[in-house]
Symmetry: C2
Subunit: 336 residues, 2 copies
DNA sequence: TACGCGAGGTGAACCGGTTCACCTCGACAT
DNA sequence: ATGTCGAGGTGAACCGGTTCACCTCGCGTA
């Protein structure tokens, strides 16, 4: 109900209206250092004049913007899209806005975008990284509260980490494929080229060795359209694998598309498993075997970590959560 | 390269360094009113000191924030998720950041979120509305450049509109179903309750009448999990429709899920068609008949309209684009 | 030579909050 | 009655840019 035409009510107008000083009004609005009576008066006046503090001015003076940056390594990945939504909802509850940035699969872009978000003076950063790329994350994590999701950034001490238990996740998936009779397995991971040292990649190698599997780890773009041509190539070759493990459901979708185009049947000709268990995965033909990372829980932990760090306003110990994987076996890996 | 510890370089420091006044530096950095020589000197000094203008201060003083608000009626809809990504990418090219807000299916929340975005001083607004809800959009569109996607907001003269040609889209879909032998068709639309006067809804009624179909329009939540229980109910009843037309692919996915649970076959027992043609739709079993709205084109037009309006900085004629529908017939509507 | 003009530059106010240093005044202890 | 203390409030500086009004000076023209 503020006076629409043009400018908004300012704190000085409010001061004049109540006969107080701007300082008093400022304190009163934030419930500090003033008598209950004064606070009431100011609040009423604010109501009456439709006063609404200008976040920009507040940010310039005080520091906090109530905006959080959400940096996603690849928004082409459906799981990440869902994650954005979940984080979004959590932050809405916390009265904060979200500045979203998408590195679009290019690790080099991540740091640049992070800088851009910091320039915008976000209060904190949620990062769903593609990979460590260059250094630079350390200084960012030191500059402002940062929470990572999915993979830890090596050498970085962020405010919080929500980490997928890739050791167990990959192990479980590979065991499952092994039990279904597969030995020659290709693993498609979008990170293998950009960040060969990620936990997920290490887990793949370790588990493969432990289980005596013949693994082939292949770098793959992060999306349906990214993995399709690669899958076409892989599956068209004479020594094609009997199973493909995809480090994201989106990648698996591309494999499905390739199979359709090549006339291969899943799981008859090749078994496919994903990661993330996107809601659509169970609707595919055949339903996709995948591994659940509970998105809502991930988002909740991440935002909670971030908010705690923002409140604390000083270096704390890193809050950490290891997200347990749950394998959901469906028909895409059924024994032929 | 800025001095990390603490504060950034300010324009006054830069002024001192170059021996100019802050005003001159400010002008120089934006290439106004200064000699080439001065501009060069300032730019060099800026480089040297790692100067980067503070967007907050700039916003407070000048007005523009280089941030655009993206307000989505429902991020649970997969098509909208893709749209966010596409708009995101367009804006990245235009050196602008994006504040994303999700009304989460509640029309009432849309206006509140729009206000919140305006409070953050976004330079413009891209709205993917659920529905007109209350008035209030007029004043918003008058306050700042606004572009709508999908449906026009009645009574509002925004800076731009990218509108789906629902008349043709719905008509084409219904004709297609009719040709496949269907007469009793249920239409699931998430907007029918919140905004019964949307173009899409009117198109449904008009086309249904023109084609002599027995239509039943049912309001439905906007997501897979939202439509599933509804579809269960619909398909469990004795006089179930022979075809279901969903105003979004996400809704169709819920119908698929319900069919799976009820043991109904698509298209044998019931035909299903969607809208939007999400990349996954063709991977379902059976592949989903849908109608393409070219997402990249939509995003490009919308952002281009918005940027033009922001540049123009004054009321212009509404830029408008009508997006043509293209039906993609797949097996989910194959004649039984 | 006098004059006008415009390019180039300056100082200070301003945007709208926050915060620091300081002041006042009444209550309470001594 | 005096001194102390702290709750409540004030004025002004400050955050870091932008912009307005004004000033200066060199050049071209009459």
């Amino acid at each position: 109900m503020a006076s629409r035409p043009g400018r908004r009510t300012t704190i000085r107008e409010l001061a004049e209206y109540t006969g107080l000083s701007p300082a008093a009004v400022s304190y009163a609005l934030r419930g500090m250092q003033v008598s209950a009576e004064t606070e009431r008066r100011v609040r009423e006046a604010a109501e009456e004049l439709g006063y609404e503090a200008d976040p920009i001015a507040r940010a310039l003076a005080g520091g906090a913007t109530a905006v959080v940056g959400l940096l996603v390594g690849s928004l082409a990945d459906f799981w990440n899209q869902e994650l954005v939504r979940a984080v979004q909802r959590e932050l809405y509850g916390a009265e904060r806005s979200t500045l979203v940035a998408d590195a679009d699969g290019e690790p080099a872009r991540e740091l640049e975008l992070a800088r851009r978000l910091i320039d915008q003076r976000v209060d904190g950063l949620v990062v769903v990284p593609i990979g460590p790329a260059s250094g630079g994350w350390e200084s960012i994590a030191r500059e402002l509260p940062t929470v990572t999701i999915g993979d830890a950034l090596p050498g970085v001490k962020p405010a919080g980490e929500v980490i997928f238990d890739h050791d167990r996740g990959v192990r479980t998936s590979l065991e499952h494929l092994r039990e279904s009779g597969h030995r020659r397995i290709t693993v498609l991971s979008w990170a293998v080229e950009t960040s060969p040292n990620r936990q997920a990649e290490r887990a793949v190698v370790a588990s493969g060795a432990a289980l005596g599997l013949d693994l082939d780890v292949v770098a793959c773009a992060y999306s349906l359209n990214g993995s399709r041509p690669l899958a076409q190539e892989l599956l068209g070759s004479p020594e094609r694998p009997t199973a493909i493990l995809c480090m994201s459901d989106s990648i698996a979708y591309g494999v499905y598309a390739a199979c359709a185009e090549l006339g291969l049947s899943i799981p008859g000709d090749v078994a496919v498993a994903g990661f993330g268990d996107h809601p659509i995965s169970r609707l595919l033909a055949p339903p996709l075997t995948s591994t659940v990372w509970d998105i809502d829980r991930v988002a909740e932990s991440a935002t909670s970590f971030l908010l705690q760090a923002i409140e604390a306003d000083g270096p704390q110990a890193t809050l950490r959560e290891l997200v347990a994987p749950v394998l959901v076996a469906r028909d895409s890996t059924r024994r032929a």
